[in-house]
Amino acid sequence: MAPKNKKGQADAADESTSAPTLRVILPGDQLPPHEANLPTGQDEDAVSMMIDQRAPPTIKLGPGLTPMDDDTIISVKAGVLNHTDIGNRWWVESNQRRYVAAPGESVIGIVTGKTGEHYKMDIGTAQPALLPVLAFENATKKNRPNFNIGDLLYCRVAMANKDMEAELDCVNPTTGKSDGFGELKGGFAFKVSLGLARRLLDPRQAVVLRELGKHFPFETAVGMNGKVWINSASTAHTILIANAIKNSEFLSTAQCQSMVKKMVERI
């Protein structure tokens, strides 16, 4: 069992050093047991031995992976299989357009309603999310923020589970500071896929933002719910930035650079 496992790890290591090939998996595909450093289940003795003699191999499953009854791990989403050795984490990087709230994520929402204690927010989920009026910096019962229906707010998902409406906040609960959350004034907002939003937030991959930044200054806020807000000195620039971001989704770095260049030249 042990040598086999070592071999498995060596294989995985080889793969990570060679050219980064994408490992796309589909729903129903199993996480290869030897790579996940799991007991393969073929040999009951080996499994019990491992449990007895060593710490059981722990594996952390991120989005898109689910353990089945028979100890196998399957993917429930189509996407790129990702792994990091720190904590033996595995997850599937998928892409979709519909947002499902997850705690800690920053999102951009539209105020759709107001009750005594909450703002009702549309963040693209099935049910509207709730934003307590007290979840703002320096907000008290007497000094509460006032927003109108249709205003854009940059918030964080404070609580989310599948059975309840998500709860948002615009304040860091430990420091009481706004941390940049709050109302987004002016500018323009539009929707992109969740995958593109994640890539815009990843400095390694946000080629389009880097390229645009070379030409003119602008402000931007990207929500994990696929909503992107931008503001710049002129409407023409804002329009160009919005369209460049939308165009960039399926382009390579070189294509992206020439696309931005062409658009800037035309203005």
Binding site: I110, T112, D122, N148, G150, D151, L152, L184, K185, G186, G187, F188, A189, F190, W229, S234, T235, A236, T238, I239, L240, A242, N243
Partner: protein, 282 residues
């Protein structure tokens, strides 16, 4: 399903951009989005893409009995039921106002403008006529469904071929494609819809609005013209009031747009006919 209205930021930005002379997608005020026409393998099937708006039109026909008061007239029907595919605001069996308006406009533009020769659909007077049916499927809604649907319907009708028939002592026999070349419908003129949207109290007029522009607009107007500069239909259902001059201005724009679109449709049909000829000869 209800849908959230665009945010105040989007609204204000769109209006400000118009004041600065820009549209959100980078178009000029009087520009149509890129029009793409693709034909199916059968006659009378056309998919129209106007930017992100997509419409599929399919023409079919059958032999039916005419009405007794109009024994020599065939039928042309339009089916414009919208499914939630185009937008989840549409529901089956529950017509939205938008849906009714679009259906009526298409009916007016194509049927009531007598674009299709219904008498030419007669086979045996009082006994048998052709009934032509145009199914219009809305696949994706990014604004201006009317113009896209109208282009799809008329192109499909022009592309359509009905089977050749032989009448012998009142007996009607349909001939298959192998036996005889199918026959095109006789079409008098090509009506094309051009939709306008108005902003900032009518100061700004744009052509071919996107969905966001439709949500923010203050009023709209749809003009139906043909290439001979004849107005077939004009619809201004509510919204802000316009001055006479503005309407005349719109007509002048529409004339140019109709010429452009008709040429594009004709070119697409010619290209398709050429392709079919080559494949048949093989």
């Amino acid at each position: 399903m209800k849908e959230t209205e665009p945010s105040n930021n989007e609204r204000e930005f769109l209006l400000q951009a118009l004041k600065d002379g820009h549209r959100i997608d980078g178009r000029k005020f009087y520009d149509f989005r890129t029009l793409r026409l693709s034909f199916g393998s059968e006659f009378g099937a056309v998919e129209v893409q106007l930017g992100n708006t997509r419409v599929l039109a399919k023409v079919s026909c059958e032999v039916v009995r005419p009405y007794t008061d109009k024994p020599t007239e065939g039928f042309v029907h339009f089916n414009t039921e919208m499914s939630p595919m185009a937008s989840s605001t549409f529901e089956i069996g529950k017509q939205t106002n938008e849906e009714i308006l679009v259906s009526r406009l298409i009916e007016k533009a194509l049927r009531r403008s007598r674009a299709i020769d219904t008498e030419g659909l007669c086979i045996v007077a009082g006994e048998k006529v052709w009934s032509v049916r145009v199914d219009i499927h809305f696949l994706d809604h990014d604004g201006n469904l009317v113009d896209a649907a109208c282009i799809a319907a008329i192109t499909a009708l022009m592309h359509f071929r009905r089977p050749e028939i032989v009448v012998d002592n009142g007996e009607v026999t349909l001939l298959s494609i192998e036996e005889a070349n199918p026959v095109p419908l006789s079409i008098y003129h090509i009506p094309i819809c051009v939709s306008f949207a108005f902003f900032n109290k009518g100061q700004h007029v744009i052509v071919d609005p996107t969905y966001l522009e439709e949500q923010v607009k203050e009023g709209d107007m749809t003009m139906t013209l043909n290439i001979h500069k004849e107005v077939c239909a004009l619809s201004k259902a509510g919204g802000i009031s316009l001055e006479m001059d503005q309407i005349l201005q719109c007509t002048r724009i529409a004339v140019v747009k109709v010429t452009e679109l008709t040429e594009q449709i004709q070119a697409a049909l010619d290209a398709d006919a050429k392709k079919r000829n080559i494949s048949r000869r093989k």
